[in-house]
């Protein structure tokens, strides 16, 4: 067999699909759904950080607000679950448009601070607005019937619904990255003035990437609200913005599968270390520090690098 880096993603995707289809028969499905939601969130975030080089510190705003909107639509206005999620996605992309339009005027730490500032505004609104239920959040969100046909209260059908959403989102990200549009984004990441000198309106490309990222974060957030039947402040808190950075960096920023692996790792750690109480943050912090010190490309990034340099290292 000729090992070729080009068909790496294809092989990875096939492997991932098989594992994901079989997984709910072996593991707790609700846990897997949580992993999928966060994996999609991290992949959406990675689109911005890994491929445009913009470090947003306010992605929880999109994730959380879509969760609130979806929960509200489904619970108070009896929307179909998918319609509820789509409204959530619309709101988060609009939010992305407004925040992104202002934020992309700056770069580096200023960009991060602007996004963080807006995320705090969204957090405050989520706490104070009537429909969000303040500290209680929106509880008891019905999962409902998908298209009036599939009963989503059944855990297995909910799992495959979430899986379908995840795969759609993932495919969209893959297509975005591997399109001419994605090539321009990478060019902006590497050297923005040069991309501009080539005639690209970099601000527009950055804004579009920002909106796509926000929309997909919203997709993840809305889905999570349905899975857990709850929209709460945790999802709009700045901790969440930090968590997604952590997932992306752990897994491998700028790789396709990295953020998903990172999300799997962080969610698993959070779940299985929950018994240690406040030690969880310390353990995850230690892992993060050692990751940044020892393998800076993240798990997937490091593996890809090993594979890439293998022929040169073994030439002699």
């Amino acid at each position: 067999m000729t090992w070729n880096l080009k068909n790496g993603p294809l092989l990875g995707a096939a492997l991932m699909l098989v594992v994901l289809l079989a997984a709910p028969h072996m593991f707790y499905p609700v846990f897997l759904m949580k992993v999928l939601c966060f994996a999609l969130f991290a992949c959406a975030f990675n689109l911005l950080l890994g491929y445009v080089g913009l470090l947003s510190f306010g992605h929880a705003a999109f994730f959380g607000s879509a969760g609130y909107i979806t929960a509200h639509m489904v619970k108070a206005l009896n929307f179909d679950p998918l319609a509820g999620i789509l409204v959530g996605v619309m709101v988060s992309s609009l939010l992305g448009l407004v925040i992104g339009w202002l934020a992309i005027r700056r770069s580096g730490i200023y960009f991060a601070m602007i996004t963080l500032g807006f995320a705090q505004v969204i957090f405050f609104l989520s706490l104070q607005l009537k429909f969000t239920g303040g500290e209680d959040g929106i509880q008891g969100v019905p999962r409902g019937m998908l298209f009036g046909l599939v009963d989503l209260t059944d855990t297995m059908s909910m799992y495959y619904f979430v899986l379908a959403i995840f795969l759609c989102g993932f495919w969209l990200i893959y297509r975005t990255i591997n399109s001419p549009f994605g090539q321009v984004l990478k060019a902006i990441r590497e050297n923005e003035p040069r991309a501009r000198s080539l005639g690209y309106d970099t601000d527009r490309f950055k804004l579009m990437a920002f909106v796509i990222s926000a929309a997909l974060s919203g997709l993840a957030g809305g889905t999570k609200a349905l899975v857990f039947q709850l929209a709460s402040l945790t999802d709009v808190n700045w901790h969440m913005s930090g968590e997604v950075v952590l997932m992306t960096l752990l897994g491998g920023m700028g790789t396709i599968f990295g953020p998903a692996i990172g999300a799997l790792l962080v969610v698993t750690l959070n779940n299985y270390l929950a018994g240690f109480g406040s030690w969880v943050t310390i353990i995850i912090g230690a892992i993060f520090v050692s990751c940044v010190l020892a393998f800076r490309r993240g798990i997937v990034g490091e593996i890809l690098e090993k594979v890439r340099t293998w022929p040169t290292r073994h030439k002699t």
Binding site: E135, D136, D235
Partner: protein, 405 residues
């Protein structure tokens, strides 16, 4: 005649057969009764429930003999970090994969409400001890929940009324900004106004909070005689300490609306003396409470709070109900729990209403002066026993959908 006898015999046989098949269908669903204690193990409320609640649950299991209906009772616990989403997720996981039959304690109203929602879907029982909001037995009531120890209405009736009667007729509230704080503030304001007092203003502080200076200064500026603290745990301790440092307590009086004995222990009698508060349990009330509390203290470094005592009492009652019902089926156990009066070190003739409220006597107490206290944990003078039916909101005011009117 013979025909009739034959018929009777046949009938008896049939009834017997049904009873036998019924008995085999009953029993424990999965060969174990599993208790989950969900509490705040590390945050602002960890002192007043947390590890102490787990100890209380273990005591209940040990005192019941470790077994019910011949099967082992197991205990698991988790730190829900006072967050509704963590609480709901963990509860779902417990019910789905760990065969947990009942969840106890549940501090932080928002988290308690979220867990009730999951319990309702999965038809499992919750025994809320430290959660306080009256929403638990009103708008959000479910058939498989019991609200055991206290609620914000009972606190308001106890403390609010007593303070107004002692001349504290103008109030300013510092409120923890979530379900519990809002509920406590609202219930107390209603009691204050009903007794001829006036509410001059309020300010909402985020939860949890460490710096209360700006809120206290607003309270001072309001000129109210009483500053009502509609918060709990570390928040209350911080606000009381800071009020003293600012010298606010020279002209104005603090009314802690929810204070646990561990809070008094952290504050010290010097700071806390003279405060009036309402509690559902005090260790030094009679021989029974003293004996139980002594055993508790041997296992846990502190005296029990009302929340921890409530966890013990509610679980003992639950085990007894499982034994009586002969099954751990939620509906049967709930029916058994409601049919038996509660008589233990925590409550005398307590009973559970349709809305899930466990009605029992509450106590209005005043914190002793340092000179009156005879030793560690000798903190309260019991001023008045508030009868359960006065302490808790009457059923005809309830907005719970399970209450038939």
């Amino acid at each position: 005649m013979a025909k009739k006898r034959l018929l009777t015999a046949f009938g008896t046989g049939l009834a017997l057969l049904m009873a036998v098949s019924g008995a085999s269908a009953a029993g424990l669903s999965d060969g174990v009764v599993k208790v989950g204690v969900m509490t705040d193990m590390s945050g602002a409320y960890s002192d007043l429930c947390g590890p102490g609640s787990v100890v209380a649950a273990q005591m209940a299991i040990d005192d019941f003999g470790g077994k019910v209906l011949g099967k082992k009772i197991e205990l698991v616990s988790v730190d829900h970090q006072n967050k509704a989403d963590i609480a709901a997720n963990k509860a779902r996981e417990w019910f789905d994969t760990e065969k947990v039959d009942v969840i106890a304690d549940l501090p932080t109203s928002s988290a308690a409400l979220a867990v009730m929602e999951v319990a309702n879907q999965k038809n499992k029982i919750t025994l809320i001890s430290t959660g306080a909001s009256t929403k638990i037995t009103n708008d959000s009531c479910i058939a498989t929940n019991v609200h055991w120890t206290y609620d914000t209405y009972a606190l308001a009736v106890g403390t609010g009324k007593a303070v107004v009667a002692n001349g504290g007729d103008t109030w300013f509230f510092i409120t923890a900004d979530y379900a519990f704080g809002h509920s406590l503030e609202g219930d107390t304001a209603a009691v204050v106004e009903a007794n001829g007092g006036k509410v001059l203003g309020k300010v909402r502080a985020p939860f949890p909070n460490t710096d209360f200076s700006s809120f206290l200064l607003q309270a001072q500026a309001s000129g109210a005689k009483i500053i009502g603290l509609a918060n709990a745990g570390a928040d209350t301790i911080n606000s009381i300490k800071q009020a003293k440092e600012f010298g606010i307590t020279q002209n104005q009086t603090l009314a802690g609306l929810l204070i646990f004995i561990t809070d008094i222990n952290s504050l010290g009698l010097d700071t806390a003396q003279g405060m009036m508060l309402t509690t559902g349990f005090y260790w030094d009330r009679n021989d029974e409470t003293r004996a139980w509390s002594k055993r508790f203290r041997e296992r846990h470094k502190n005296m029990p709070t009302m929340g921890q005592a409530g966890v013990y009492s509610s679980l003992m009652h639950y085990f007894a109900a499982v034994e009586k019902a002969g099954t751990d089926d939620s509906a049967a156990v709930m029916a058994a729990m409601k049919s038996m009066p509660i008589n233990d070190m925590f409550a005398k003739n307590g009973y559970i209403r349709d809305d899930g409220r466990m009605v029992h006597d509450m106590y209005l107490v005043q914190v002793k002066k340092p000179s009156e206290s005879k030793g560690p944990w000798d903190y309260y003078n019991v001023l008045r026993t508030i009868p359960g039916d006065e302490a808790y909101m009457s059923l005809d005011k309830s907005t719970c959908k399970l209450v038939k009117k």
